[in-house]
Amino acid sequence: MPTFADNGDGGCARKILLKAIAKALHMTHSNADDYLRMYRQMVRIRTFEDNANQLYLSAKMPGLTHMYSGEEAVAVGICEALKTSDKITSTHRGHGHCVAKGADFKEMFCELLGKEEGYCRGKGGSMHIADQSNGNLGANAIVGGSMGIATGAAFSAKLLGKDDVAVCFFGDGATAQGLMYEVMNMAALWKLPVIYACENNGYSEYTRTDEIAAGSITARAEAFGIEAFQVDGQDVLAVNDLSQKLVERCRKGEGPFFIELMTYRYHGHHVGDINREYYRSKSEEKDWRENRDPITRFRAWLVEEGIASEEEIEAMNAAIKADASEAVEYALNAKYPDASEVDMHVFTDVEHALA
């Protein structure tokens, strides 16, 4: 199994590696704009989450939500390798995928607040946010529930002669769901253009991955004849590089593929999971935040490579922050759906299902 994992030596070998990757990328992918867009998207995700968390803490958001902070390089590295018409399926921890696939803050915040202008007219909320205009088939509140859907999107691309690729995002915890093995078997048999992207953040809820996953996650995919990779999910360039290659190979009919992305969530399992020392230590959290943050790292590289100056980056950050505040403000003032919407959209062809 090819390994792109961080060797954890604190940066030195890593920098050399990053430079080598960057050099390689420069050849195929010469525009600095791509890097800046990746940076921008990662910051947009982080900023979105900071605002969402704030909305929760100030009791302005209904329900709970799961923060993607810390995992930005995964969604961005992968989604930046996709076209708009490529499909993704997302998870309960889905804001990052949604932003990375092209969604706007306004409709997203409106959705989180249950407002009519949300992507789903307020009917889905955080756990079901979808953005079909950008190929996001939706977050899913059933762990593992979207594995069939992503595989089916790949199936229909093949059936209908489109060259779209589907990416299925899911957590390490979801690898325990049998559905994954069922659809990997079919994807392998039928050579479907789907990439299974396992975001291994080390935990499923309040349990460590090694307590719930026997053996090797990548070996499970390999047993079905699926090429599998492990990659440092905190390294957006490594993720993007691998993704570009696999997406291209998928389009040529060489799929499916499996990627295990080693990453970390900074917050609790959900916004309400505050006292979590019984399952993981503060020092572990601190280590990831301080030493492996995907944004901090990539920012340093951008500056070092001369792709952006500190000032440019600060300006970008500030602009994103302003965007987010504006969107939050907008969403807070936006209107709730009218009560009459409650029985709309039960069926496509019936205006009001209960009329």
Binding site: T89, Y119, T151, G152, A153, F155, S156, V183, N185, T348
Partner: protein
């Protein structure tokens, strides 16, 4: 007009719709060369190829989930679930995903998917291959549910289902695959939500679904010979349900029996009886009587299995009771 079997009717419906729309495909176990164990799909793979008549591994949750995703992205899957009893395996993909996607996305994503499966006992197949589980599906908002009672309905409802942009579940009666009925040569569709008055009558209404339509027609024959005129109504789809036609008949005859092959407890008959009682109460001369399958797992032994399902004689007997007013004393 010609007579064809229910099997042929389903086969024709699929073939016609697959010719009409190249995004329609069939997916399930042994649907291609084998044409399913019931041989309903024979010949389709020869015409449409293995890309559109897709044999799967034995992984019902998996291919159901795959179909949901395909339906969300431009294809129109017809999922073949070999036995209705296996619906328990796919409930999550059917009820948490397919049924809710349109709603949860605020109308942006559609799931134009047909799940074809079957129901019916008395085939000596025991508890895990004999269930009639349509009530479970009917309880979940977002799913339409069709119960064809003959080759004619099987064809017309299937074609409507395939063109519908919502998930539709069709339960065929597996004991009826070889039963023939008159089916037009020319194309036709049967709209959802229109009950069929199979037989007009004045004294009592028998509302019957699927396999129980034949049972009630036979019961009506028995009753006719005794001078009791029974109206037999087949709702054809239970979601949407043509309440109007049912209520009209109930008000006319003032006596109703609802007959269904699902388990009686917490099943179809309670819902239909509940609605009629609620909305035609003051027109009824007697309570709506419910006859479902016995509330036991389906036993293997023929000596036991046969008594778990309503028969024409049992329906006629209940009707007589209702007519005689004995229900009054019982109540």
């Amino acid at each position: 007009m010609r007579n064809i079997t229910l099997s042929q009717a389903v086969n024709e419906a699929l073939a016609e719709e697959m010719r009409r729309d190249s995004s329609v495909f069939i997916i399930g176990e042994d649907v291609a060369e084998a044409g399913t164990p019931f041989k309903v799909l024979s010949g389709l793979v020869e015409e449409f190829g293995t890309a559109r008549v897709v044999d799967t591994p034995i992984a019902e949750p998996g291919f159901m989930g795959l179909a949901v995703g395909a339906a969300m992205t431009g294809a129109r899957p017809v999922v073949d679930l070999m036995f209705g009893d296996f619906i328990f395996l796919i409930m999550d993909q059917l009820c948490n995903q397919a049924a809710k996607t349109h709603y949860m996305s605020g109308g942006k994503l559609n799931v134009p998917l047909v799940l074809r499966t079957n129901l019916g006992a008395t085939r000596r197949s025991a508890a895990q291959h004999s269930q009639s589980l349509h009530a479970l599906v009917a309880h979940i908002p977002g799913l339409k549910v069709a119960l064809p009672s003959s080759a004619y309905e099987a064809k017309g409802l299937m074609k409507t289902a395939i063109r519908d942009n919502n998930p539709v579940v069709i339960f065929e009666d597996k004991l009826m695959y070889n039963d023939k009925a008159t089916v037009p040569e020319e194309e036709f569709l049967i709209p959802f939500g229109e009950a069929n008055i199979k037989r007009e009558g004045e004294d009592i209404t028998l509302i019957a679904t699927s396999s129980m339509v034949q049972v009630c027609e036979k019961a009506a024959d028995i009753l006719a010979a005794e001078g009791i005129s029974a109206e037999v109504i087949d709702p054809r789809t239970i979601v949407p349900l043509d309440e109007e036609t049912l209520l009209r008949s109930a008000k006319k005859t003032s006596r109703v029996i609802v007959v269904d092959e699902g388990h009686q407890n917490f099943g179809i008959t309670g819902e239909i009886a509940g609605r009629i009682n609620e909305k035609a109460f003051y027109h009824l001369d007697a309570p709506v009587v419910r006859m479902g399958a016995m509330d036991v797992p389906v036993p293997f032994s023929p000596a036991l299995e046969d008594i778990t399902v309503p028969t024409p004689e049992a329906v006629a007997e209940k009707a007589r009771l209702l007519m005689s007013g004995e229900m009054i004393h019982a109540a």
